[in-house]
């Protein structure tokens, strides 16, 4: 039984660190509250949609910013979408970077936008990593007979 307790502690600590370091915010808690026996995979499902959506958007952003004449409206629209979905799952750092990104769009600043894109890509891959680790920990905890503790 020690193993389960260990795993659960690890899970709690890891989750807490993600909040503490600002990767996740309150909205992620909201999502966890929406998960129950009838929808045990809700969080994973939503986050997976977020991953797919984000990767598509980041790709599009790269392409749009590579054009000879940059269509800033298009860039802004994509960033707006990314900002929205990151906000909806509680990916705080990504969301915050999107705000800065939109400012560069407003200024029609291609250089600035490219920098922002790099930063967003970086933050996105960080949070993706963190969330995947979190989900693995959850799986291990459940497999060992434990339950996902609610913070």
């Amino acid at each position: 039984m020690d193993g389960v307790v260990q795993l659960q502690k690890q899970l709690v600590d890891y989750t807490a660190s993600l909040f503490h370091e600002g990767f996740l915010d309150e909205q992620f808690n909201q999502l966890q509250q929406l998960q129950d026996e009838s929808n045990p995979d809700f969080v994973v499902e939503v986050v997976s949609l977020f991953f797919e959506d984000s990767e598509r958007l980041l790709n599009e952003l790269g392409k749009t910013l590579e054009q000879k004449t940059v269509d800033f409206k298009k860039v802004d629209a994509h960033v707006h979408q990314l900002k929205g979905s990151s906000s909806s799952i509680g990916a705080q750092r990504v969301q915050k970077l999107c705000i800065a990104f939109r400012n560069c769009c407003e200024e029609l600043n291609t250089e600035g936008c490219l920098k922002c894109l790099q930063q967003v890509k970086h933050e996105y891959s960080l949070v993706k990593n963190k969330l995947e680790t979190l989900f693995k920990l959850e799986q291990q905890t459940i497999a060992a007979g434990g339950s996902i503790p609610t913070l």
């Binding site: 909205q27 929406l34 809700f42 929205g84 906000s87």
Partner: protein, 231 residues
């Protein structure tokens, strides 16, 4: 009674003034974001609503049977919509435009419409409320936001809707301004007018005698409607 819709049976259902409490209310959710649709759908279901989620204003109108080009799709017959919750920023038709279309329809104008937006812009909020939106929710949407939607369902008895007539999302308003710091002189009648009429009376409230506030009208309206209604 306008009989121009293809599916007249649905129209009769829409006029049915006997909502059974045992049935779950049916919400039509409109959002172009897949992630947000998934979240709002779950938020609604967990709050005991039936949900239909669509990805555009166009589709919402088609579902309601209001789209001029396409008639109501097969399979949605008879499902009365009790509330519409829509994102504001959408490509093609915005939530605001959708709101207008619904309020222009004699069949569907009574359906409460709630707007969601990631942008907390007073001018935008005001426009929506003036156009007849019941509430304006700032994204990301939380469970507490969705639970409040139940208040808008009781429009027909007029009872439940009164207490939430000033039901503008307070969380958002507190972000915008501090109500207690506004001038005290809103002693004129508006509060009574809003408690009389069960349907929207924002226009009558906001045209009340000059109120020396630079604040936007939803806040004025809130002050007026809450004077009597809340504590």
């Amino acid at each position: 009674m306008e009989g121009n819709f293809v599916v007249s049976r649905r129209m009769i259902d829409a006029f049915d003034v006997s909502p059974s409490d045992s049935e779950e209310a049916h919400v039509l959710a409109v959002d172009d974001s897949l992630v947000d649709r998934k979240v709002i759908e779950r938020l609604l279901k967990i709050s005991s609503f039936k949900v239909t989620a669509v990805d555009s204003g166009r589709r919402a109108l088609q579902f309601l049977g209001l789209d001029e080009e396409k008639s109501a799709s097969v399979g949605f017959d008879g499902l009365k919509v009790d509330l519409i919750i829509t994102d504001y920023c959408m490509p093609g038709m915005t939530g605001y435009e959708l709101l207008k279309k619904i309020k222009e329809s004699s069949t569907f104008r009574e359906i409460p419409v709630v707007i969601m937006s990631s942008e907390n812009v007073l001018a935008r909020i005001d426009r929506c409320l003036e156009e007849g939106a019941e509430d304006f929710i700032v994204k990301p949407v939380k469970l507490s936001d969705v639970k409040r939607l139940k208040d808008y369902m009781m429009r027909e008895d007029g009872v439940g809707s009164e207490s939430s007539r000033g039901g503008i999302n307070k969380r958002k308003l507190q972000d915008c301004c501090d109500l207690s710091s506004s001038e005290p002189s809103i002693s004129s009648s508006p509060s009574s007018s809003s408690s009389e009429s069960p349907s929207r009376s924002p226009t009558s409230s906001s045209s009340a005698p000059s109120i020396p506030t630079p604040l936007d009208s939803p806040i004025r309206r809130l002050k007026m409607t809450t004077t009597d209604l809340i504590d």
